[in-house]
C-alpha cells in the first residue's frame, strides 16, 4: 500500500511554484518523518506560505512533485484534504461568528451531526481555555485567543498532518508558550506538524529537523544541533560604557572567542558568535581585566539574521524584485 505508515509524511522533489515571473518556490526537496515536528525557517517572502499552500493542495505545483501522507497533491487532492489540517498565517476563522459557532461549523463540515458537533466544540473550547469566550464574536478575541481557536479548528478531527504557518508571530511570550505546549502535546499524540517560523528559537524549541529557506530554496537542512553547529551555539551581545573602547574590545573578544565579531549600528555595541558558553564567560571576564567597562551583556540564541549571515555570508535580504524596485526608485530620484 503506497499510503502505508512507512512513507514519509511529506516528500517533495524539485517542488516549484511560479507566479508570473516570480519563483516563489524554486525547487524544494523535503522529507518529513511521520510523527515529527518539522520547522521551515525563513525571512519574509522566502516562500514558506507558498510551500504550505502547495502541500495543502491550495496551489498546483508549476513543476516537481509533492506527496503528502503517501498521496500526490496534484493527482489526489481529496485524499490529502481528508487527512491534513491547515492553520494559515492569517486567522482562518470567521470573525463574525462566535468561537463556538466556528468550531461547530467546522465539525458539521467534517460530518459530525448536530449534537455531536456541539459536544466536540465544547470539548475543544474547554481544552483550549476558551470556554469563557465561547459565546463571544471572534472579532473581540485577543491575538492569543484567536490563534488557539484557529488551532482548535484544525483539530476538530485529529489530523495526521497539521500545517501551522507562523503560529506565534505577533503573540506575547505567554500565548507563544501556550501554542508551543499545544504543538508538543499534538505530536505526543502521533500527529506530524509542519511549522513555519521566522524565529530560530521557535524552530529550535520544537522541531526535530529544520530547513532554512530563502528565495524559494532550501539553503540548509538538518537537526537543530547541526544547524547550530554551523552557526555557533549562541550569540554574545556586549554593550560598552565608552564607545571609544570598541576597537579594543573587538580585538580582545576575537582573540578570546576565535570567531568573527560584528560591530552593531549602536556605536557602543558588539555582537560575537560563541562556539561554547563557557568561553563567553571567560571573554567577559577578560574585558573587565583589560579595564574595558561593560554596561551590559547577554548570551542569546542566534537570530534568523545571524543564521543567515553564518550560512550565506550576507544578511537576509529583501527579494530581488523589492531590491530592483528600490534601485529604480533610487535611480529616479
Amino acid at each position: 500500500m503506497i499510503a502505508g505508515a512507512s512513507t514519509p509524511a511529506v516528500e517533495t522533489v524539485g517542488l516549484r511554484k511560479t507566479f508570473g515571473a516570480k519563483h516563489a518556490v524554486d525547487g524544494i526537496d523535503l522529507s518529513i518523518r511521520r510523527g515529527s515536528i518539522f520547522g521551515l525557517l525563513g525571512p519574509n517572502g522566502a516562500g514558506k506560505t507558498t510551500t504550505v499552500r502547495l502541500l495543502a493542495t491550495l496551489l498546483k505545483p508549476t513543476a516537481g512533485t509533492a506527496r503528502v501522507l503517501g498521496h500526490d497533491v496534484a493527482r489526489e487532492p481529496e485524499a490529502v484534504r481528508r487527512r491534513v489540517s491547515l492553520t494559515g498565517q492569517f486567522a482562518s476563522v470567521d470573525e463574525d461568528l462566535t468561537g463556538r459557532e466556528n468550531l461547530v461549523l467546522i465539525a458539521r463540515l467534517l460530518g459530525h451531526g448536530g449534537r455531536d458537533a456541539r459536544a466536540r466544540a465544547d470539548e475543544l473550547l474547554a481544552a483550549f481555555d476558551l470556554d469563557d469566550a465561547a459565546a463571544k464574536q471572534v472579532r473581540t478575541y485577543s491575538g492569543g485567543m484567536r490563534r488557539r481557536l484557529d488551532i482548535a479548528a484544525s483539530l476538530v478531527t485529529t489530523p495526521d498532518l497539521l500545517f501551522l504557518d507562523e503560529p506565534t508571530t505577533g503573540l506575547d511570550p505567554r500565548s507563544r508558550n501556550q501554542v508551543w505546549e499545544i504543538v508538543r502535546l499534538l505530536v505526543d499524540n502521533g500527529t506530524t506538524v509542519l511549522l513555519t517560523t521566522q524565529y530560530l528559537e521557535e524552530a529550535d524549541q520544537l522541531a526535530e529537523r529544520i530547513a532554512v529557506i530563502d528565495h524559494g530554496r532550501v539553503i540548509a537542512e538538518g537537526t537543530s544541533a547541526t544547524l547550530k553547529a554551523s552557526v555557533g551555539t549562541g550569540v554574545l551581545h556586549v554593550r560598552l560604557a565608552d564607545p571609544a573602547d570598541r576597537e579594543a574590545a573587538r580585538a580582545l573578544l576575537a582573540a578570546e572567542l576565535g570567531g568573527p565579531i560584528h560591530l552593531d549600528a549602536d556605536p557602543a555595541a558588539l555582537t560575537a558568535t560563541v562556539p561554547d558558553p563557557a568561553r563567553a564567560a571567560a571573554a567577559i571576564a577578560a574585558t573587565g581585566a583589560a579595564g574595558i567597562r561593560v554596561t551590559d551583556f547577554s548570551l542569546g540564541q542566534p537570530s534568523l539574521d545571524e543564521v543567515f549571515f553564518a550560512l550565506t555570508g550576507h544578511p537576509a535580504e529583501p527579494s530581488p524584485d523589492d531590491e530592483s524596485a528600490a534601485a529604480t526608485a533610487a535611480g529616479r530620484s
Binding site: 495543502a56 493542495t57 494559515g88 492569517f90 463574525d96 463540515l109 475543544l124
Partner: protein, 277 residues
C-alpha cells in the same frame, strides 16, 4: 505548586480532546451547502444592522413619497401607497442581494478561504451556501417592508397568498441577480468597492423604472427603457400578484432576466472562486 498542577490539567484536557476516535465521513454536497447556509444565517443574527442598512432607504422613500407626493401623484396618499409599496419591496430586496457578494469578498481576502478550500468538502459549497442563506435575508427584507406598509395602511387585494407568492418571486429574482454581485466581489479588492459598484448598477435600474411613478407620463425614449428594464418587469409582476391583475406571463417575463444572469454569471462566479489565489 498551583501553577504546575494547573498546567498538567490543561495538558490532560488537550490530550483527552485529541484522543483518536472514529471519524465521521465528511459532509456531502447538500449537507455542506446547508451548513454554509447556516453560517450565512448566523451572520444575519450577529449583524442584523446590515439588513436595516439596506431597507432603511426604501422605507424612507415610502414614507417621504407617500406623504409628500402621494396626493399629487395619485390623487390621495392611500392610493399612492397602494401603487408604491410593491415597487419599494422590489427595491429593498434587490439592494439586499448585493450582500451575497460582500460575504464572498470578505472570505477570499481572509485566511478562512484557505481553510475552507483545504477541507474535504465540495469546493463551491461556500458560494452556494452563502447564496442559499441569503434567501432568508431577502425574505426578511420583504417582511420588513410589508410590515411598514401595513402600518401605513397598505392592503393586498390577493391576501396572504398574494403576499407569499410575491415574496417567493422576489427571492428567486434576487438570488439570480446576486450572481452579478458575487462576480464583482471576486474581482475587486474590498467589500466597500462591492457595495459602491452594486449601488451604481442598481440605482439607475430602480429609478428608470415604474417603482415610483407610472411611466405613462415619461418621455417616449424613457418609456422604452422602462419597458425593457428587468426591475420594472419585476415591479409589474409583483403589483399584479398583490392587486389581482397578475398573470403567469408577467411572472415568467420577470424571471427571464435573473435566469439569463444566472446562466452567464453563475459559471463565471464558480470559475473565479475556484481559481488559485
Amino acid at each position: 505548586m498551583a501553577i504546575d498542577t494547573q498546567r498538567r490539567d490543561v495538558g490532560a484536557a488537550i490530550r483527552a480532546a485529541l484522543k483518536p476516535r472514529p471519524q465521521p465521513k465528511p459532509a456531502g454536497t447538500v449537507s455542506a451547502v446547508l451548513t454554509f447556509g447556516w453560517r450565512a444565517l448566523l451572520k444575519i443574527k450577529h449583524m442584523p444592522e446590515q439588513l436595516f442598512d439596506v431597507v432603511v432607504t426604501p422605507i424612507m422613500f415610502t414614507v417621504l413619497f407617500t406623504y409628500l407626493f402621494g396626493g399629487a401623484l395619485a390623487g390621495s396618499t392611500d392610493a399612492y401607497l397602494q401603487y408604491l409599496l410593491p415597487g419599494i419591496l422590489v427595491q429593498s430586496v434587490v439592494f439586499t442581494s448585493v450582500y451575497s457578494g460582500l460575504t464572498l469578498n470578505t472570505d477570499i481576502s481572509k485566511g478562512i478561504y484557505d481553510r475552507f478550500r483545504s477541507m474535504p468538502v465540495w469546493s463551491l459549497s461556500p458560494v452556494l451556501g452563502t447564496m442559499a442563506g441569503d434567501v432568508v435575508r431577502y425574505t426578511v427584507s420583504s417582511l420588513i417592508v410589508f410590515a411598514i406598509g401595513f402600518l401605513m395602511g397598505y392592503e393586498a387585494a390577493t391576501g396572504i397568498l398574494g403576499i407569499v407568492a410575491v415574496i417567493l418571486l422576489l427571492d428567486l429574482f434576487a438570488a439570480g441577480l446576486s450572481f452579478i454581485f458575487t462576480t464583482l466581489a471576486l474581482l475587486v479588492r474590498t467589500p466597500s468597492t462591492v457595495m459602491t459598484l452594486g449601488w451604481m448598477v442598481l440605482m439607475p435600474l430602480t429609478f428608470a423604472s415604474n417603482v415610483f411613478v407610472d411611466p405613462a407620463t415619461m418621455p417616449a425614449w424613457l418609456q422604452t427603457v422602462v419597458a425593457w428594464n428587468p426591475v420594472a418587469l419585476l415591479v409589474t409582476a409583483a403589483r399584479g400578484l398583490l392587486d389581482g391583475t397578475g398573470s403567469a406571463a408577467l411572472v415568467a417575463g420577470s424571471l427571464v432576466a435573473p435566469l439569463v444572469v444566472t446562466a452567464v454569471f453563475g459559471p463565471v462566479t464558480m470559475a473565479l472562486y475556484r481559481r488559485e489565489r
